[in-house]
Symmetry: none
DNA sequence: ATCGCACTCCCCCAAAAGGTGGAGATCAAG
DNA sequence: CTTGATCTCCACCTTTTGGGGGAGTGCGAT
């Protein structure tokens, strides 16, 4: 199956350049090009590309806004790689929030661009190394505070951690009991112990801490409520 | 200037493999190998490598702990790339927190490994695409399911959303009342209304939904408990 | 063998949370 | 001006939660 690509950039020359690089691959086809954000949205709906290479600075509607709008309606089928000339700083966070799967500089070597497209098509994400570092730094920094909790969590027993996991699912004591095949009284014991060890007041705080510490992660939960 | 590399893995065969791949490059030199975490720490101090390729599962001291210890004393001069066989899931956060600059799977193509080493040496960071995606997801607080909840959330009134925010801080009804300058009874009303509108059972579930929907995001909270 | 620990479960009690069914006030829109 | 929505609060009631005691089992370390 060939990958359908949409190339979006306000400079025709740049579009052609990327299109040529990608067109050399047998399993990649550039199905459309767009020169503005609005055109991009239009083209995305019309051609349903697998991957969109999106410039940021464009007339009418910038690439990040276009990214957000496109992903609103076709998040499942289309992934977007943001291309920028340099200075990712101000844009990366907006880009990632908008739902971009990649963020690379335009001076990327052609073969790397191809690799990035394939990676993203495979469900991965590809960021420029400096962006990656920034993201890690931000991530690690944010965890500065939560690290206290992460270390406190280590003091929990295995069973207690299991119970905390269940708490982070929004389960009641009885539901946890059923899930772990133990009595409700036992769950109460564990919960009490957890709250005490982590210096928390109630299960709601336990849920917060589970997320902040990384024990629970967004999107990994089977939230059936 | 040639890059000095330390290869750490408990399997000698794996070490030799990586060493050979890297040794082919004229500007890369494998200055030492280690088979355990403790050996790694020792070798890192002795050889002051620019880059360490570090396995996770090892006897004596695992790679993540070794990473943390090494970076404690030579964070400026040495960068570490974590290598794992698969299932990055459980390790990535610990790895990034420990200060790793890279996290790649062992089945990485040789030329990509070389590229990763150069990237990290240049001050960038290199993560496996699935890891990158996870990190983005975590940062952006958005993931597939989030949309369902997000839509339910906008049925809430402004005040209710405020209260939900407070719930996601782990606050009790009284604390929310104090924070919003209203009575505890009023908070109860709002909470009831929230639970009813979102079809939740208790505040713990509300916290979960706040995170899963992106209304609350890891690291944005002033967790003072 | 004894100690500590984790895990299991029990009882009792108080506090918090949640449900129901109100009420008054405001304010924007029809 | 009436309607509907929102925000504020109340009273009454039931359920859940959380704390404070135990207590018995098994298991691994000393």
């Amino acid at each position: 199956m060939t990958l359908k690509i949409l190339v979006v950039d306000d400079q025709a020359l740049v579009r052609r350049g990327f299109a040529m690089v990608l067109g050399n691959e047998t399993d990649i086809e550039v199905v459309a090009e767009a020169g503005t954000g609005l055109e991009a949205i239009q083209a995305a709906h019309q051609h349903q590309p697998d991957i969109i290479l999106m410039d940021i600075r464009m007339p009418e509607l910038d690439g990040l806004e276009a990214t957000a709008r496109i992903l609103e309606t076709q998040r499942e089928s289309t992934r977007i790689i943001i291309l920028t000339t340099f200075d990712p700083d101000e844009y990366i966070y907006r880009a990632l929030r908008a739902g971009a799967s990649g963020f690379v500089l335009k001076d990327i070597p052609p073969e790397s661009l191809v690799a990035a497209v394939r990676t993203v098509a495979d469900g991965g994400a590809m960021l420029d190394p400096t962006v990656t570092r920034r993201l890690i730094g931000r991530f690690a920094g944010k965890l500065g505070a939560a690290q206290n909790y992460a270390s406190r969590i280590d003091r929990l027993t295995d069973r207690e951690r299991e119970v905390l996991q269940s708490l982070a699912d929004g389960k009641s004591n009885q539901e946890i009991a059923d899930a772990l095949f133990i009595g409700a009284a036992t769950v109460k014991s564990h919960v009490s112990s957890i709250l005490s060890k982590l210096e928390l007041r109630d299960r709601a705080q336990a849920v917060v801490l589970a997320y902040e510490s990384g024990l629970a992660r967004v999107g990994e939960r089977d939230v059936e409520f």
